[in-house]
Amino acid sequence: MKKYLTVVGFLFFASILTIILLAARKNTFLRETRENISIADIKRPKPFPICDEQWPTDLVWHNGMDQDIFSDPKATKGGTWNTSLTSFPPNFRQVGPDSNSGFRGAMDDNDLGLVDVHPVTQKLIPALAKEWAISKDRTIVYFKIDPDAKWDDGMPVIADDFIFRLKAMRSPGIVAPWYNQYYSTMVSDILKFDKHKIAVKLPSPMADTVLKAAMRPLPYHYYGELREIRKKYPLSRAISYLKRDNKEVPPNILKIKDEYESSVTSAKEGEKTPKEPSVEITVEDVEANWVKNHNWKIQPRTGPYNISSFIKGKEVTFERNKNWWAKDKKYYKNRYNVDQIRYTVIRDTNLAFEKFKLGQLDQFALLLPNYWHSKAKYLDPVDRGYMQKLWFYTQKPEGSSQISFNLDHPRLKDKNLRLGIIYALNIQNMLDTVLYGDYERSETFHEGYGEYSHPTLKARRFNPQKAIEYFNKAGYTKIARDGVRINDKGEILSFKILYAAPFHTQRILALQNEAKKLGLHLELDNFDTTAVFKAMLNKEHEIAWHGWGAGLRPQYRGQFHQSFAHKKQNNNLSNLDDDEVSQMIDEYRFALDTPTRVELAHKIEERLFELAPAVPTYKVPYFRQGLWRWVKYPPFIATPSNDMIMDAYGLFWIDVELQKEIRAKMTKKEIIYDIPPLIKNTRYKGAP
């Protein structure tokens, strides 16, 4: 019996010990690292043919070297930047199914394009291209690729990599219809002149020509040659693909096309139009099962960092390429200083904040007013001088937050009613109370776009007299039992306001409370984000509370063009169907010179103001964050395009010595004096 007990006891303790050991070392045995392939082992695929055209000699070349540098020469290399992700990426691909996760940005930031944009002046600066030129008709952009440019596996970046990207993005094997469509319509071809000379052909002259043509390469030597497959497409798409690839349309397809067209024209009214037939054509495709094969593969990159190892579901580590080809180039010098970037998965924001307070994360966004004014009001590390709070006004395109009225709604068609509602929305009160007076009122739909933004237009402010006046005009003259206005037909002045984010409830409650006093009832309609967004795109809302992300230039077409009105699944949430606006948008889209475009943008904003299909709400023209003191930044703090101090521009660095020193002081609770705990920088505040 005793013997038996000993054996059982031994086994028990041994298993516990093993579990502890495994748990402690899970970092090592669960970690997957990137394979290192020596350059000699890389097979070079068959190069793409050189085009027949001649390299023009009368071009005006630009190299963008006349801009100021925007990094700090005092920056030192080293250290690890610890940051967090809310969920682990579903894969490491940048295209294809489920690739559009938040993590994709971290990889995109490390893929250089042909040219870059200067964060302060917004002018073009060189990246992979050393020089560029535009043809006279503005449809071809010529690039000279920097001969120093290399992938991080040591292979040089050559013309074939750009051609491969175009072909791969057009191939069905990546399972990304948006990319297929974009690269088929927005870029017509890439011409290869020699290893380092290419020209990107655009389908028509466009504004911002160089940026539209500045593609990112895809490593041809890594993904290998393309193969030809037979694939079925709807007739019209098949023909457009054949034309895109400069192939002749085979006679059997032409015959099917004629038959289909005659059947469409002969179809009687009221009858169903015949279904478009599908035809099989030959297209180029990436390797079979590309999506599945490349879920967790790490592609070579041209940027400063690449994934070096990861633990699935837990963390991803990026490592700095010590021999990065651009490290001594004018605009890349003294940037990208930390050796490692470690993304840890922390699903809960509150938990991430706690970890930040313990020093496990180097920075934390304090943008939300309740964090800045309440949760991060007194931070021990700030009072002791280990941490700094920073409030930096930026000057980059603002995402547009707005309230859109559905003009297809029978009652909201009435402009008087819309104006009444707009005057009854006390947005300033909402900003002052719920948002601690932190956010700013948006005046137009596109702010922060420099000269493109309308300089003088002011959004309609809360005005009780005017609201009542317009409600009366719209026929809502009587007040019903519960204080809500009612018209002669017995319709109540009550609308559903649809919104996605649960934490916006308070903001809308504040609006609702003020509007109620004027006899307008706003019914809150909120649900799961995906369902809400779907409902908005299907135009099921009465009033939508939503926001759009920012682009490089104001975009009006998707949101206000009449070709999208009264149709489902598009961004014209107000169903605005106005000839004048649509005409101006078309002009704006194809106008080439900046002054015309700026003038048109202003005119469109004015017309939109007049029509009142939507009302801009607020903007946040700054970033706010907490920052441990070992994170150093240039004396000018950040550029007007920064998202944070520690972001993709890589201007910051980590002082490893100071980090050790502060950690030592933290254990002893020593106070560091004479360092400002709060920095508020308003250099870029207000219109430029």
Binding site: S374, Q512, F527, D528, Y673
Partner: protein, 400 residues
């Protein structure tokens, strides 16, 4: 009341805990049913120029009626102030115990706070300047002074924004939430909705459950077998998930969730609970002599089930009721907490818990709602336990 029920009531009323719980529970329920009288931003009585008005039950009275300029409904708190300024007019009004409705947002008068902020800042910066000029003063002293200044300013500044802590002077007895609504008023209105939801659900579930359960027990044969399988399948579906899924599907078809939709969804999956017990009870009673006698006398099946069998199994229904109510309250609250429940501007306990956990730096929110929830669930369960003991057949058959 028949003697058996009399005996049961006696046994229940002897249970002090259950009796007290029942009294408190009824009191709370009555208060919450009369929420408009206790928690309202509309005045109970307004006496203006010799006329009496009762705004809390009347239609919206335009402010013009009381000599204000505004056309929309009067702000009675403001009105009270104007009345008090001129006592010689003889106008008066009476506000409810707590002058806030669940949806009324309290505005904070920031002017005096701003003034105080400026004063405090001046007070400290003067001291700091003096120290900076003084060559003997050390760095630490200045830094400490700066720290105390920042904290003093921060404390004042936090009074400018909601959530505000509980205060007797402001009549926010449990403080406000982050939007500026009174917590106590929300608790009361939220309780009313929760209890109404639970009771409506209980009634509908019982009607369906009794009908189907009795039919299963009484009819037997293929109907019993079929329903058993149907119920087994349905009751193995995870309840909360399926509600979330149904709600999402309804929403994507343009249907907004409201109180009755939620009741409908809950009923569609909640009626099964009672069927098993009713089936067993009916099966047992069916073979008794009195049923046979009723049948011999020519009574129809419906009459036998509802007139003869049901009164004999009523103890089962009564014992289960309180527990079913507390279950429904928890269900509604958790659904609201997850954001799939009632519309967001309804007062609801679930969304209060969510608010409380999101604003953990304002502990009065989460404390209030958790205490309220624990109290109510405890009361209901205590009453339920009392009923269960009172109806316990063992006690009746034994000699006490």
């Amino acid at each position: 009341m028949n003697p058996i029920n009399q005996q049961r009531w006696q046994r229940f009323s002897k249970n002090k805990m259950a009796m007290l719980s029942l009294k408190i529970f009824l009191a709370l329920t009555i208060i919450s049913l009369l929420s408009e009288v206790f928690f309202n931003d509309k005045a109970l009585v307004v006496y203006y120029k010799g006329e009496m008005h009762f705004p809390f039950i009347q239609n919206a009275i335009p402010a013009k009626t009381f000599g204000l300029e505004n056309e929309s409904e009067a702000n009675y708190l403001e009105l009270q102030k104007t009345f008090r300024k001129k006592p010689e007019d003889g106008n008066w009004l009476m506000m409810p115990f707590i002058p806030y409705h669940y949806r009324s947002i309290t505005k904070i008068d920031t002017e005096p706070i701003d003034l105080q902020l400026k004063k405090t800042e001046d007070f400290y910066s003067k001291q700091i300047k003096e120290l900076q000029i003084d060559p003997n003063a050390n760095k630490e002293k200045i830094y400490q002074l700066k720290l105390t200044r920042n904290q003093a300013l921060g404390k004042l500044d936090s009074q400018k924004y909601h959530p505000l802590p509980p205060s007797l002077a402001r009549k926010h007895f449990l403080g406000t939430d982050s939007t500026g609504r009174d917590i106590l008023a929300q608790l009361s209105y939220g309780y009313r909705i929760a209890i109404a939801f639970a009771i409506i659900l209980l009634i509908i579930n019982y009607i369906i459950g009794i009908a189907i359960g009795c039919a299963m027990g009484y009819l037997g044969s293929w109907y019993d077998l079929l329903m058993q399988r149907v119920i087994e399948v349905l009751s193995n579906i995870p309840f909360l998930y399926i509600i979330i899924i149904i709600a999402a599907i309804l929403r994507s078809h343009g249907f907004t969730m409201g109180f009755w939709a939620l009741v409908g969804i809950y009923v569609s999956l909640g009626w099964m609970g009672m069927t098993w017990y009713m089936r067993t009870a009916t099966l047992k009673e069916k073979s008794r002599e009195y049923v046979l006698a009723a049948r011999a006398a020519g009574a129809s099946d419906t009459r036998i089930v509802f007139k003869h069998i049901l009164p004999n199994v009523v103890s089962l229904l009564v014992t289960f009721a309180p527990f079913s109510i507390s279950g429904s309250i928890i269900g509604l609250t958790s659904l609201d907490f997850l954001g799939y429940g009632l519309p967001k501007d309804y007062p609801s306990w679930g969304s209060l818990i969510k608010l409380g956990t999101d604003n953990i730096q304002a502990p009065w929110i989460i404390t209030s709602i958790v205490c309220a929830m624990v109290l109510v669930l405890f009361l209901i369960n205590a009453v339920g336990e009392g009923i269960r003991q009172a109806f316990d057949p063992k006690k009746i058959s034994h000699f006490e």
